[in-house]
């Protein structure tokens, strides 16, 4: 028997038709997640051809990307300010109703960022294939799934057939040894990894994160790591399921219950890669070397330790990025003033992320003149945070406490920063204009974001013990 990797097992279990030289594989999709921004054109393709959604029970829709996070617009009866966003929301409501697709609508207590609610509901389960018209679908790989982002035409393919045409990607094992030092987090780990790999370093590959440092991560931390796999250009990221995975899923609304749970456990325990399974590439990384990280440029590979210096020299892209960011080669970033802090996104807006930020802000105020937005990953996260009083901590510190959504991670819904402003952000992309035309994004962990909010400057979270 050939020793199979986690990826290979999932791939084989979903091949309706294997790939040949002349045609890609027909790969079955267990779970399809969709949202208001990349679905309307897919529904239009179905309508043009008179095709139904073939397996509506395998799709869940939510509102997150263009959806407002101001309570007034969600619950207060104030019209959604961006008319085109309101039309997208209405379009998804109509399309889902007509197709029989379940939608967590605007005022649904289960609504939230698509990659937060799947795991939260227990819909994301080991061994599945999961797709969504969103590149951060790689998040779900934290549960031992093959999960990847697709375009709107492929969304239509899934609606119409529950399948996709796929060439089999290569595999990259990242073996992570050691332990994350105190004051660092999964976000720092993945930023350091992308810094090492580069933004195209994972292209054409599915990454499996392995090793003791990965086993020690919570599910939320694993999601943070897998989430950013796409920022290294990878097709997907995944982590083998273990007791941590099962403990997270047990009892969740859409997880198997009773006898079905026991049968599922039996299946899931067989998923981890066999001893001696092969990968196309292997990379080793020591978690013990990770420091709190911050980005200095305009892609997520341009990162340095928070007390480090911007590289002294680079290519044209490096100089263009520094020009956009207003930084000089070779300079230190710590101590530089900032304008805004964003705690949110599918990377870092789950309950433990909010707890870390709140623990640092408790009894403190954010710096004068600074603005801070805290946007929970889902309405359930919001409710849980409020039950612990975290919202009070943020509000007392002078931050804004919002309804859930993608918000300033993607800047579609109007939550943006002005040109030239510096935003320390727990999100995943620091591309030019990502948080508004001309806005300058500095990617960091929730702890670093909170430290920067208190200082009003780029600051090391290790100096702000909770």
């Amino acid at each position: 028997m050939t020793a199979l990797s986690l990826f290979e097992k999932i791939w084989r279990a979903h091949e309706v038709l294997p790939e040949t030289a002349g045609a890609p594989a027909v790969l079955y999709v267990d779970l399809h997640l969709t949202h208001e921004v990349t679905s309307p054109q897919a529904f239009a393709i179905l309508a043009e051809r008179g095709l139904p959604v073939r397996r509506p029970g395998r799709t869940l829709a939510t509102l997150d990307h263009a959806t407002p996070t101001e309570s007034q617009q969600v619950f207060g009866g104030v019209p959604i300010r961006i008319e085109s966003a309101a039309r997208q929301i209405a379009a998804l409501e109509n399309n889902c109703a007509a197709a029989g697709v379940e939608l967590f609508g605007l005022r649904d207590a289960r609504r939230g960022i698509v990659h937060v609610i799947g795991p939260e509901q227990g819909l994301t389960q080991p061994g599945m294939t999961i797709v969504c018209g969103d590149s951060h679908t790689s998040t779900h790989g934290a549960f031992g799934t093959f999960a990847f982002g697709i375009g709107s035409t492929e969304v239509a393919h899934v609606f119409a057939t529950q399948c996709l045409l796929q060439r089999k990607p290569k595999t990259l094992a990242i073996e992570i040894g050691g332990r994350l030092p105190a004051g660092t987090s999964a976000k720092d780990l993945v930023l350091a990894l992308i810094g090492r790999l580069g933004v195209a370093g994972g292209a054409g590959h599915v990454i499996e994160y392995r090793g003791p440092a990965v086993r020690a991560l919570s599910m939320e931390e694993r999601m943070t790591v897998c989430n950013m796999s796409i920022e290294a250009g990878a097709r997907a990221g995944m982590i083998a399921p273990d007791e941590t995975t099962f403990a997270y899923l047990r009892g969740r609304p859409r997880a198997p219950q009773g006898e079905a749970w026991e049968r599922a456990l039996e299946r899931w325990r067989r998923l981890p890669g066999d001893d001696g399974c092969a990968f196309d590439r292997v990379l080793e990384f020591d978690a013990g070397t990770v420091e709190p990280m911050i980005s200095y440029g305009t892609n997520p590979g341009m990162v340095i330790p928070i007390n480090g210096k911007v590289p002294a020299a680079g290519d044209d892209a490096f100089h263009k990025a520094l020009h956009y960011m207003g930084f000089e080669p070779g300079e230190a970033l710590a101590g530089k003033p900032i304008d805004l802090v964003f705690v949110g996104s599918c990377t870092n807006a789950r309950l433990p992320d909010l707890r870390i930020a709140a623990s640092m802000l408790r009894g403190r105020r954010i710096a004068k003149g600074l603005r801070m937005l805290v946007v929970p990953g889902s309405q359930q996260v919001k409710q849980a945070a409020e039950a612990e009083g975290l919202h009070r901590v943020f509000l007392d510190a002078g931050a804004e406490w919002r309804e859930s959504g993608c918000s300033m991670c993607v800047g579609i819904n109007g939550d943006t920063a002005a040109a030239g402003r510096y935003v320390v952000s727990t999100s995943n992309r620091n591309f030019e204009g990502r948080q508004g035309p001309g806005a300058r994004t500095l990617l960091a962990s929730p702890a670093t974001a909170a430290a920067c909010a208190i200082a009003g400057r780029i600051a090391d979270p290790r100096g702000f013990a909770a």
Partner: protein
């Protein structure tokens, strides 16, 4: 840039040969947030996204065209082949990037590497993604406006001096481009297999 060409969407007619002058964007890691900034994503249509193409590079804050941006120069008019630095189309899965390029008259993108999701999205819309060898790409980068031929059938790039550079294109993707085969039609023709597979899995 001329505004002609496939008007976005899945109007995939057969694409055999694209012969055009090139426009060169001298930047690497061009992400899809640059190709179509987020604020244009609240559309429910595949049409008319040409106006969003590289909007924050093409226009200043007041909406006036920046004369120094390559796609705004007079010689870029009518160019159907975009040559750009490595890792083109990285980042977000937004298919709007492919729709916008097509709507603005771009029919092929040439780079040393093209990000996976953008590559797939381009093919679905008949926009030809060309992963060229480093030497050919380097030549193209310093010869903007070169009259180039992208031969899909032969998977070959023809330079003005007659040199030919092969590029790799998956046989299925090439077949779909040449015949204007739509992949959804292909998948639908496999529905009996899909049904049988579902039944077998249910056991």
């Amino acid at each position: 840039m001329s505004g002609q060409g496939a008007a976005g969407g899945n109007d995939v007619r057969g694409v055999r040969v694209i012969r055009s002058r090139t426009v060169v964007l001298p930047a690497a890691d061009v992400d899809t947030d640059q190709i179509v900034p987020a604020r244009f994503l609240t559309t429910t249509s595949r049409m008319g996204l040409g106006r969003a193409l590289f909007a924050d590079w093409r226009y200043d804050a007041a909406g006036a065209p920046r004369a120094d941006f390559v796609l705004n120069r007079p010689e870029a008019a009518g160019c159907g082949i975009l040559v750009a630095g490595g890792n083109f189309g990285c980042g977000s899965s937004r298919e709007h990037a492919a729709w916008a390029l097509l709507d603005a008259g771009i029919r092929a993108v040439v780079s040393t590497s093209i990000a996976d999701i953008f590559f797939t999205n381009a093919l679905k819309n008949g926009l030809v993604p060309v992963r060229a060898d480093a030497a050919t790409h380097a030549w193209l980068m310093v010869h903007p406006g070169a009259e180039v031929e992208v031969d899909v059938a032969g998977s070959v790039l023809r330079l003005p001096d007659g040199r030919e550079a092969a590029f790799t294109l998956d046989p299925f993707a090439r077949h779909c481009l040449l015949q204007g085969v739509d992949e959804l039609g292909y998948l639908l023709s496999r529905l009996p297999d899909i049904e049988a597979w579902e039944t077998a899995r249910r056991g």
